[in-house]
């Protein structure tokens, strides 16, 4: 062999050795150095989570009647991955066929099942995230998308059967029996906005979750408003997660881990279905009565509060929506109708809206005036026909009288005089560079009005407002620009221009007129019926101001008490007990004494059995000659401390004694069983024990996912109990639909 060949053989040997070394080195890199990352990638593509939503907890009244439960429905879902695998032609055929069967359109079905894609687009407002045509599937690709919910009627069952029996016609389409949210309206009570509704989780809400939970809740429904939102954590439960191994086509090859869902807990409320139904009935009657007198009565709102516990027994705002037709289930058209309907049915005036309470506010102003010494239980005050250009609005002219009589007759001029005295004292203090006393405002805050924390277990509750020297100035600083712009823009000399011009220059000033308006519940004072009820409850119970609660307890589906919910005490009124008793007596006088503004309404009421006190309110509204009419009332068995407070507000109607008070009387009659009514509470006391929750047997919880699975793909998959509808709110909104602007009807305080 030539030497050359021998040498080249050695070279070939070295070459072969280096090739082997290269392979071993690379193998080492992949299997040892880079292994953790590759292993994670392997798990990521081999293991998929299939989420079974947990059955949501129920919301019950104080006797255990469900306000919200779940009922079985047939849910049709489309497994997009299974469908995609069959190619566009088959996919289109199947969806067309399904659209005909479900009575919907192909485009809608196709869009609903397509995964959402988001991209950033440069617009005039800067970078904005735009989504693919809505509706789209916000969930994960391998999770089937719910396209239709059918009520378990015969016709629907027949449809489902047609889909089920022809799996060859409907590849990738499943029909399952599952639980959907249901509002049974116990005793006919709606309680819609208090209960709230659920809707598919929004991207914003999803982003707030820990990363590990995002995949689990991607297709979840969450509480959007009301109690459904407030007690989301308790109602939600824990979704079941089934980890399945999948092959390269995404077909399930086995189960790695299967965690069954943990059903959510029930919320037992202080609400009583009977009282709630009665309140809703009376509010409707109040609206009807006002309208039959050719008044507008856009809405009526009311509250029944347990003064001893701070529990909300009933609360309603009419008009409202049907709880089973909540915004997320509505079409865009129907939703917009509801949004713009007169009386704003989507906005609850009982706890979300704040408006001028009129003379019902005299509870707060007399408390404040007695507390800071401006008024006295022994004083006499001139109830003249007018004072400083302001006339008596509701009350009679009564000459010199006590504060008691001023409350009974609702004499405004007495309060005007006290307000001016109050203002003069504070003005003197300010000039001496001392802090003003501002007794009425100080006591209003103690009653929970105009403070930051609305203090109720409902989202979006109103805090109310009352002006003082400090916040008047802060408001003015914030609004000055608008006032001055308005003064320049508006027609010179027009009332609004004059108002703007005044506010532009002197808006920071807290004028005597402001204090006068405040003391009779006008001007800068706004509050919600719920806040007023809390204030009257404090009067009734001797000074305890509650942060009211709808919920009473959280109970597990097996009936175990998880936690009791007590209404926290916000404040104990600094007003002396003697003063409070004095005011309470005057309030009893309103219904008991001749000349009392509520005397006529309660004529013939068996006060010997059930003793009722209260105060009428007639608020002037801007832009109309009609009034906001109010009646705030407390009652209890005669000789005992009051048990309940009932407040009713009727918008754009007659005086409080005419448009509101009679319906409060009706409420008392029904609650205590007067005048042929059956008492809604035996002994007139709401139940203190928790109701027996219907104990759910172990096994498939409730109606949820009874897995009457009709799966045309080989794998059985869970579906969400989602309603996928076409409303923009259900898709895009980050939370409840855009709330209406808080309705505050303020009067200008120009003098």
């Amino acid at each position: 062999m030539p030497d050359r060949s021998r040498l080249r053989l050695v070279v070939l040997g070295v070459l072969v050795l280096s090739l082997v070394a290269t392979l071993l080195g690379r193998l080492w890199y992949l299997q040892v150095l880079n292994a953790p990352q590759l292993r994670a990638e392997a798990l990521n593509q081999q293991i998929h989570d299939i989420v079974t939503p947990a059955p949501r907890g129920e919301i019950l009244d104080d006797t255990g009647k469900p306000f919200v439960d779940n009922k079985p429905a047939l849910v049709v879902s489309v497994d997009r991955t299974a469908l995609d695998r069959l190619g566009t032609a088959v996919e289109s055929t199947v969806l067309h066929r399904l659209a005909v069967e479900l009575g919907t359109s192909y485009t809608l079905l196709s869009n609903e099942t397509k995964p959402c894609s988001y991209k950033k687009v440069q617009t005039s407002h800067g970078l904005e995230v735009t989504s693919s045509p809505t509706p789209c599937n916000n969930g994960v690709a391998y999770q089937p998308v719910v396209v239709s919910q059918l009520k378990p009627t015969l016709a629907a069952a027949r449809k489902a059967l047609q889909i089920k029996e022809k799996p060859e016609d409907y590849p990738g389409v499943t029909v399952e029996l599952t639980g959907i949210r249901h509002y049974p309206k116990p005793d006919g009570a709606l309680a819609s906005s208090m209960l709230g509704y659920i809707q598919p989780i929004s991207l914003g809400q999803l982003d707030k979750l820990p990363t590990a939970d995002r995949a689990i809740y991607q297709n979840a429904d969450v509480g959007a408003t009301g109690l459904e939102s407030e007690y989301e954590q308790d109602l939600r439960g824990v979704p079941g997660v089934k980890q399945v191994s999948v092959d390269h086509l995404g077909a399930v090859t086995g189960t790695v881990k299967d965690t069954p869902p943990v059903p959510g807990d029930d919320v037992v409320t202080n609400l009583d279905a009977g009282v709630q139904a009665a309140l809703e009935h009376e509010l409707q009657a109040a609206i009807n009565a006002a309208r039959s007198s050719h008044l507008t009565a856009d809405f009526a709102a009311g509250v029944v509060l347990n003064v001893r516990t701070g529990g909300i027994v009933a609360m309603s705002s009419l008009p409202t929506y049907q709880p089973n037709q909540a915004p997320p289930t509505l079409t865009t058209k129907r939703y917009n109708q509801l949004l713009h309907a007169p009386g704003s049915p989507l906005f609850d005036k009982a706890f979300q809206g704040a408006s001028a309470p009129g003379s019902t506010f005299k509870l707060i102003s007399s408390s404040g005036l007695l507390w800071d010494g401006t008024a006295s239980r022994y004083g006499t005050y001139d109830c003249s026909g007018s004072y400083l250009g302001k006339t008596n609005f509701e009350g009679e002219v009564g000459g010199f009288e006590s504060l008691h009589q001023a409350i009974v007759q609702s004499c405004d001029t007495v309060f005007y005089r006290l307000a001016v005295a109050d203002w003069n004292r504070d003005n003197r203090l300010v000039k001496e560079h001392k802090p003003p006393v501002e007794g009425v405002q100080r006591i209003a805050h103690a009653y929970g009005i105009g403070v930051k924390n609305p203090g109720v277990d409902l989202p979006g509750a109103a805090t109310g407002h009352i002006a003082d020297r400090k916040n008047q100035r802060l408001n003015w600083l914030a609004l000055k620009k608008d006032y001055c712009a308005g003064a320049a823009r508006r027609t010179r000399g027009s009332p609004l221009q004059r108002l703007d011009a005044f506010n532009c220059k002197d808006g920071y000033l807290f004028q005597p007129g402001d204090q006068m308006n405040e003391d009779i519940g006008q001007g800068t004072v706004t509050l919600s019926p719920l806040q007023l009820a809390v204030a009257y409850a404090a009067l009734a119970n001797g000074g305890t101001v509650f942060e009211p609660r709808v919920a009473k307890a959280i109970v597990s589906p097996t009936g175990k008490l998880i936690k009791r919910i007590k209404a926290p005490v916000r404040d104990h009124l600094p007003v002396s007990k003697i003063d409070l008793d004095y005011i309470r007596n005057a309030m009893y006088g309103v219904t008991h004494e001749q000349g009392g503004t509520g005397y006529g309404v309660f004529a013939g009421f068996p006060m010997g059995r059930v003793d009722v006190g209260g105060k009428t309110g007639t608020a002037e509204l801007t832009g109309t000659s009609q009034n906001g009419s109010w009646f705030a009332s407390f009652a209890g068995p005669a000789g005992q401390a009051p048990q309940f407070v009932t407040v009713i507000e009727v918008d754009k109607s007659d005086q409080g004694a005419v448009s509101a008070a009679p319906f409060v009387r009706n409420m008392w009659e029904q609650i205590y069983g007067i005048g042929g009514n059956k008492a809604l509470f035996p002994n007139g006391v709401p139940p203190t024990k928790l109701p027996k929750v219907r104990i759910v047997e172990a096994g498939p919880p409730r109606h949820h996912h009874a897995h009457a699975t009709v799966s045309s793909s080989s794998t059985s998959r869970a579906t969400t109990s989602t309603s996928t509808s076409t409303t923009p709110a259900s898709q895009a909104a980050d939370g409840p639909p855009p709330a209406l602007e808080a309705r505050t009807e303020r009067r200008g305080s120009a003098q």
Partner: protein, 394 residues
């Protein structure tokens, strides 16, 4: 022949006939002359191959059927190896032109409707009765023998091949290469190019020729890369038509390679256990009983098992190099070198594409990948190596 005279001399002392065992164990017997290290390495590779092919086909429910066919292939291959080892390679050399001609006919047949219409894949001829052959595999043997024959021709006064011989080599190899390019099977073409280059270089041609060919290869590679675009496009389009494709469509190449990498990384040190690889069982890697069988080894047998396969392949190459080194004549040496180049490139390319450092081609891993013709050709090559070895020190 001296041994023979010695044994005749001792005959009168021990008249009894030698037992088979004694004959087998005789220092100069055929069996003692065999390279048993090479046999053992190939045997272990075949056993590992059987296990991996079973594990790779199991998810499709074809585990035992593939295993049986693989064992049959090994059996047939081993018989062919024995045949290739028994016939003196100098006799074989005389029949090389016949072999070469036969393999050309095979490659031509592939391009006729006979090849493409039956199976869909251009490289195959279905013989009926469930048998398929890939003529390009046999062509590798024919070309190795043919080139060796040409370069080993005795010439007056010189030992190294003449320029004429080199041109003849190019001419001889051009025919099969062009035919395989037409299939198109770029991987096999590369095996041919590397093998022919290696054999030429080792035949002792002057260094300037080696350098010239390397330069030519670089220029050629440049063109191939550009032509490759066209090829992969044709390949992808062609494979889209057929379901039974031997490799994968161009656009999924990187995906497949990534999946193979994930499978191998998932194996770690000791692997997930034979038949328990989730990546394998999920069939994330395509062609996992043939081209990507190494990824199964990586996932299920780990660094230990996959490393063993690389080491065993290395041992096969080492033994082949050793056989070439001690070959009695130039022909034997060149056959050995040709087989080393062929196996070395094919192993490096196959394992390398599994490890993501080489482009994807349809080349099988010798003795491990499932595939009859490839197994037969590799086994014949081992037979030839033994043939050269047995006749080297005589």
């Amino acid at each position: 022949m001296t041994d023979w005279s010695e044994s005749t001399r001792s005959a009168p002392i021990s008249l009894r006939r030698e037992t088979f065992r004694e004959r087998a164990m005789d220092r100069d017997s055929f069996l003692r002359q065999l390279d048993w290290v090479l046999v053992a390495a190939v045997a272990v590779l075949c056993v590992l191959g059987c296990a991996l092919v079973w594990a790779a086909a199991k998810p499709q429910g074809l585990g035992s059927s593939y295993l049986k066919k693989d064992i049959l292939n090994i059996a047939i291959g081993s018989s062919l190896a024995v045949l290739a080892a028994l016939v003196d390679y100098r006799t074989l050399r005389a029949y090389t032109p016949v072999l070469y001609g036969a393999s050309l006919i095979g490659l031509l047949a592939v391009l006729t409707p006979l090849g493409s219409t039956i199976n869909g894949a251009h490289s195959w001829i279905r013989l009926g009765g469930g048998f398929e052959v890939q003529p390009s595999e046999f062509a590798k043997i024919a070309v190795v023998l043919g080139i060796a024959m040409l370069l080993a021709e005795k010439r007056e006064g010189r030992t190294e091949p003449t320029r004429n011989d080199i041109l003849w080599c190019f001419g001889l190899s051009a025919l099969p290469v062009v035919l395989i390019l037409a299939q198109p099977d770029v991987g096999s073409v590369m095996v041919f190019v590397i093998t022919i280059f290696g054999m030429l270089a080792l035949s002792g041609i002057p260094g300037r020729y080696v350098g010239g060919m390397l330069a030519l290869a670089i220029v050629g590679a440049f063109f191939v890369i550009h032509a490759h675009l066209l090829h992969s496009y044709q390949l992808a389009r062609f494979q889209a038509l057929s379901h039974n494709n031997n490799s994968v469509a161009a656009q999924t190449f990187s995906f497949n390679q990534k999946q193979a990498g994930i499978a191998i990384g998932h194996g770690g040190w000791f692997g997930q256990g034979l038949g328990h690889g989730t990546q394998t069982n999920g069939q994330f890697v395509p062609e996992q009983q043939t081209d990507f069988v190494f990824s199964v080894a990586g996932e299920e047998l780990g660094l230990v098992g996959a490393g063993l396969i690389v080491l065993l392949s290395g041992i096969v190459l080492w033994r082949a190099l050793r056989i070439a080194r001690y070959a009695r004549d130039r022909f034997g040496m060149l056959v050995g070198v040709g087989i080393v180049c062929w196996f070395a490139f094919q192993t490096f390319e196959n394992v390398g594409m599994n490890l993501g450092i080489m482009p994807i081609t349809g080349l099988p891993l010798p003795f491990v990948s499932y595939g009859g013709t490839s197994m037969f050709a590799s086994m014949i090559a081992i037979g030839l190596l033994q043939n050269v070895r047995v006749r080297s020190n005589t």
